[in-house]
């Protein structure tokens, strides 16, 4: 059968309308009529393909299921500020009772926060602050994470030696604060030298290529790598292992993702800093429910970080 352009267009239109009707039917199933007195919470996750955020989001969804009279709808912003803004507008249009926002970015996500506040909907921010504050913030102080990680490096090196730092996406609050925390430790130990630092955008492949290049440029001049997250720490680790240099270099990340914990267990990664995804997820649901019921709720809840090494690993493995 030869497909003429007209046939092709007809086929395409038919396909699209089919897809649309399927989407509508499944959409209707989800948007079941709201029960009287039920609390509807909208949750926009920054990026479900990032392991830490996925863990946090799962905790939010699972914990909300255990609460009776609460319905939670989750959407994934895939690290796209614009997309998240649209999702927020949809929540406002649906007149949800509270919104849990895991913002994409410090500055760029601020307009979305302002829009929610203008609409008068209670807002819980989780794991990332914006320039405007929500009604409640559940997070961990990333400043502490940077400090804990660099302090571990300083202890290991006895305050003397070269360090490389892999930044997250520049301008995210986690990157800014983790760097600031680390810089404080550098100021405390004048023997620690920051040999080079560069962003690998939270990305394992980028961190690996960057570390390979650093090995060429600075071999012998550094004895530790601090990565702002575990994905990048894993990339640095792979590059060092491949070059046969891991034994000379202490590598530490932040987040305690599953693969990093396994690597610590196997004695490959030296340490990571545990950020309590489940604690943050549960805390944000609790706060959203309190706010939706117009009950008092703390402005800020901080879930503490902890250093994980081989010695205390067992208590973090499920």
């Amino acid at each position: 059968m030869r497909l003429t352009p007209r046939k092709a267009v007809t086929a395409l239109l038919a396909f699209c309308s089919l897809a649309l009707s399927v989407a509508l039917v499944s959409g209707c199933k989800k948007a079941a009529p709201r029960k009287e007195g039920e609390i509807l919470i909208g949750f926009s996750s920054r990026d479900l393909s990032a392991e830490y955020t996925a863990k946090l989001s799962e905790a939010v969804v699972d914990y909300a299921k255990t609460k009776s009279g609460v319905k939670l709808v989750m959407v994934d912003a895939q690290s796209d500020v614009q997309k998240q803004f649209g999702q927020v507008e949809n929540f406002i249009a649906q007149k949800v009772d509270a919104i849990i926002l895991n913002p994409c970015e410090l500055e760029a996500s601020t307009p979305a926060v302002d829009r929610i506040k203008t609409a008068g909907i209670p807002l819980v921010l989780v794991n990332q602050v914006t320039k405007s504050a929500g009604d409640s913030y559940i997070g961990s102080n990333d400043f502490d994470a940077g400090r804990i990680a660099m302090e571990a490096v300083a202890q290991k090196l006895n305050g003397q030696g070269g360090v490389l730092m892999l930044h997250g996406i520049m301008g995210t609050s986690a990157q800014l604060q983790r760097e600031a925390g680390a810089r404080e430790i550098f100021a405390k130990y004048p023997g620690l030298k920051l040999v080079d630092h560069q962003t690998a955008s939270w990305d394992r492949a980028k961190a690996m290529a960057l570390t390979e290049n650093w090995i060429q440029a600075h071999q012998g001049k550094f004895s530790a790598i601090f990565a702002h997250n575990d994905e990048m720490a894993m990339g640095a680790l792979l590059a060092l292992e491949r070059a046969g240099l891991k034994k000379d270099v202490y590598v530490i990340g932040i987040d305690a993702i599953a693969q990093a914990l396994t690597a610590v267990k196997e004695g490959r990664l030296d340490a990571t800093v545990f950020q309590d995804a489940v604690g943050q997820g549960k805390g944000s649901v609790d706060a959203a429910i309190l706010l939706a019921k117009k009950q008092p709720c703390p402005k800020e809840t901080m879930i503490p970080f902890q250093l994980i090494t081989r010695e205390n690993l067992s208590q973090f493995l499920k």
Binding site: L3, S49, L238
Partner: protein, 311 residues
């Protein structure tokens, strides 16, 4: 022969640019000019290189493929899903990755040839479809726990990194194919003047389908190599890889209008981009400046090259 002159001139111009950049880096750093660093550069360019060779075929037919990065992610996820230790032989995940890439390429090809939809639109659609499928199949999470047999693909063979061997093999085969096979010459004919080619009896649709299918297959290979390298299938991997690949091909003298271009040119383009990325890291240039410098060198190289080709 006229085209030979043009190619020689072209290669000379680009080689000059690479030589200047290389010289500058050798003077500015004491680490650029070393065997270890060249192995390093070779390893880092191999993924972009495999993609660039594949997309050269598509660009030669006056088409384009914007779905490369997403298909890399999808193939990597598909490969990693079948690569858990003790489940399958190592050939299964490799085959799955290659097949996934080839299937995406063939769908692109069918829509372009049978559907008559512009390549830009078809592959733009595939770009978001493949990314979506990668997120669906992986549940949005990195697919970890890959067998050592598969991750060994990123290791060395006789002291040479396997990704580099893959890239070299692919490039050599593509070079030989385009020069010596009738189908290879048909690809140039289709891109040069589609109507004339059709009048001369070239099976235009089949040739295009082949180009997209092959590009997809090589994209699948790049996905497998990347997954082996970073020991996971990452659904969000490969962002904007198509841009680096297409940039390399165009720097290498392939015309976006089709019909003109060589694999050797593409190799030089890939090398230039790789050397720039590596050199700027060695010099400790901030990533903000890196982006600007890279853009300037890319546009500058093409400008210098086209000027030489004209004179």
């Amino acid at each position: 022969m006229h085209t030979l002159d043009r190619n020689l001139l072209h290669r000379f111009g680009l080689l000059l640019v690479i030589f200047i950049v290389g010289l500058a880096l050798s003077l500015l750093t004491d680490t650029f000019l070393s065997v270890a660093n060249f192995t390093n550069v070779a390893r880092q360019i191999s993924i972009n290189g495999i993609l660039a060779v594949g997309v050269t075929f598509v660009l030669l037919t006056a088409g384009v493929d914007l779905s490369l990065g997403s298909v890399v992610a999808l193939s990597g996820v598909a490969c990693a899903t079948f690569a858990h230790p003790g489940e399958h032989s190592v050939f299964v995940p490799i085959a799955v990755g290659l097949f996934t890439g080839a299937a995406c390429g063939l769908v692109n090809g069918v829509l372009v040839t049978r559907g008559g939809v512009a390549p830009f639109i078809v592959t733009l659609g595939m770009m978001t479809i493949a990314r979506g499928l990668a997120l669906i199949f992986s549940g949005g999470r990195p697919v970890a726990n890959m067998s050592n047999e598969l991750t060994a693909l990123a290791g060395d063979l006789f002291g040479i990194p396997i990704p580099v061997l893959c890239f070299a093999g692919v490039a050599a085969a593509a070079w030989f194919f385009l020069r010596n096979f009738r189908l290879g010459r048909h690809i140039y004919a289709v891109g040069g003047n589609e109507n004339a080619a059709r009048a001369a009896g070239v099976p235009v649709e089949k040739v295009k389908l082949f180009a997209y299918g092959l590009c997809g297959l090589l994209t699948g290979l790049a996905g497998v190599v990347l997954a082996a390298r970073i020991t996971t299938g990452q659904p969000n991997a490969g962002q904007a890889y198509e841009l680096d690949a297409i940039a390399a091909v165009v720097i290498g003298g392939t015309s976006l209008a089709g019909g003109v271009g060589t694999i050797t040119g593409t190799l030089l383009g890939v090398l230039l981009i790789g050397v720039i990325n590596n050199g700027l890291d060695l010099m400790g240039v901030s990533s903000y400046y890196q982006a600007v410098i890279k853009g300037v060198i890319i546009v500058g190289a093409v400008w210098l090259d086209r000027r030489q080709a004209r004179s």
